[in-house]
């Protein structure tokens, strides 16, 4: 238990650091800006209670907001992300498997499941984030393009990091 807390704490700090000091300065042709930090919420253990999940998502969002000067924006998107995560997991994962599969990582859940999971959640998050940021529907196609390309970039980073920390299934 304390090991899981420690791992997630380290993951939180590292992801926020990467997002704020590295990825914030990266954008491909002004159309693709990755929001990689949501990986933290994606990788929280299956057993996380709903309340804790929402609180963590809220804190993560606000931390990013503090650095991006947009109070509430990332927090709102992260809350939506947490909700979609709960729905998605309740649809696709059986409850009995929880003891053996503590975290929804690439190495545990397999490529196909993780890719769908990351893509769906990222699309929801980015769609909400970019439209809330622009706060109007005038540049509809342009922002939709930004959503799609940014999501691809983010998912790409997630898969890379998943493969980087890939471990064969170890059962104790």
């Amino acid at each position: 238990m304390s090991k899981a807390i420690f791992i997630n704490l380290v993951r939180f700090v590292v992801l926020v650091f990467i997002q704020v000091f590295l990825l914030k300065n990266i954008s491909v042709y002004n159309i693709s800006a990755p929001y990689f930090y949501i990986l933290f919420i994606l990788l929280l253990p299956f057993e996380t209670p709903n309340l804790l999940l929402f609180v963590l998502a809220f804190i993560t969002g606000l931390t990013i907001d503090a650095f991006y000067d947009t109070p509430g924006l990332n927090a709102a998107a992260c809350i939506l992300l947490a909700f979609v995560r709960i729905v998605f997991i309740s649809i696709t994962v059986q409850k009995e498997g929880f003891d053996n599969e503590p975290e929804p990582t690439l190495s545990i859940m397999g490529f196909r499941w993780f890719f769908t999971y990351a893509l769906v959640l990222t699309l929801f998050h980015h769609f909400f984030l970019f439209y809330l940021e622009s706060f109007n529907f005038s540049g509809l196609e342009y922002i939709l393009g930004r959503v799609i390309f940014s999501s691809l970039f983010t998912v790409f980073l997630m898969l890379i990091s998943g493969l980087l920390f890939f471990r064969r299934k170890e059962r104790k």
């Binding site: 000091f21 914030k24 709903n50 503090a66 000067d69 709102a76 909700f83 940021e133 342009y142």
Partner: protein, 277 residues
């Protein structure tokens, strides 16, 4: 009552979602209407200091480029010194003998946080109210205008850059002084902005300089960019044109905050006139 409780606890995820989402949106919308009135931004102590620390490190990476641009600016300024002019007319003598009262003063500041690829961009500077920066001052750099100060703490200031949906600055065509205003275009491109409401009689050319008009926060004649395209739909009685911004916002390092010594007097006088009407 018991049924209601069972219902709520069965769908607890959805109700928690509603509660948190509403509170996040309230924060977001509240912040939107009171520009920077909240404390969650990059001029507070923790994030500001972290940014300053990281920026010190980044500074080393571009030392050479900064040195070059400073040397160039030095040379340019030296060219403007009185001693480097050959005085050949009496008129010039008169001009140099006149006693001026200084209207504009400049506070040099370093950009410690910057963004160009969002629909509303802000910069954070490492100078604050302790150094004389106040809300509403203009910010320029050696190549042109940057934006205006919207929020100040003791050691930091947040600048709403030209690349912001709400930014609007009075500007004119350098050649025949036709007045208009510049704002950022709709396509979120950090190299382009739009000059609007120029009178139909003006005959702008491609490549012509667009500069500040002196009606706003900036001294007259600070460059903004060059006219790059005339094919933008106008408002009927006025011309709109596209301007290629001369400042590369993604590479800003040092900027000057413009302090207009007469700003208080001017705005006081104008407020007086409004009150009398």
């Amino acid at each position: 009552m018991r049924n209601l409780w069972i219902f709520v606890s069965k769908y607890n995820a959805f109700f928690l979602f509603l509660i948190f989402e509403v509170s996040a949106l309230v924060i977001y919308i509240k912040y939107n209407s009171f520009q920077k009135a909240t404390f969650i931004n990059s001029s507070n102590q923790l994030t500001g200091n972290l940014y300053a620390r990281i920026n010190e490190f980044y500074g080393y990476l571009s030392l050479k480029k900064v040195n070059d641009s400073l040397a160039r600016e030095n040379a340019q300024l030296r060219n403007q010194l009185k001693s480097s002019f050959y005085i050949d007319t009496i008129k010039k003598h008169k001009v140099t003998d006149t006693v001026y009262k200084q209207q504009y003063e400049y506070i040099v500041a370093r950009v410690i946080n910057n963004s160009v690829n969002r629909s509303n961009n802000y910069l954070t500077l490492n100078k604050g109210s302790n150094d004389g920066v106040t809300k509403g001052m203009g910010v320029i750099c050696s190549k042109g205008i940057v934006g205006k100060v919207v929020y100040v703490s003791a050691h930091f200031a947040v600048v709403q850059s030209l690349l912001h949906k709400d930014s609007q600055f009075s500007a004119m065509l350098a050649r025949n002084k036709d007045i208009g205003y510049v704002e950022w275009g709709d396509d979120i491109n950090p190299r382009k902005c739009v000059l609007k409401d120029v009178s139909n009689n003006a005959q702008p050319r491609i490549g012509e300089w667009v500069v500040t008009s002196g009606y706003s926060l900036f001294p007259e004649g600070i460059p903004i960019g060059k006219v790059s395209s005339l094919h933008i739909k106008g408002g009927g009685y006025s011309l709109n044109m596209e301007v290629a911004v001369s400042v590369d916002f993604s590479k800003l390092e040092y900027v000057d905050v413009v302090e207009n010594k007469f700003a208080g007097e001017q705005s006081g006088l104008e407020a007086q006139q409004k009150k009398d009407e």
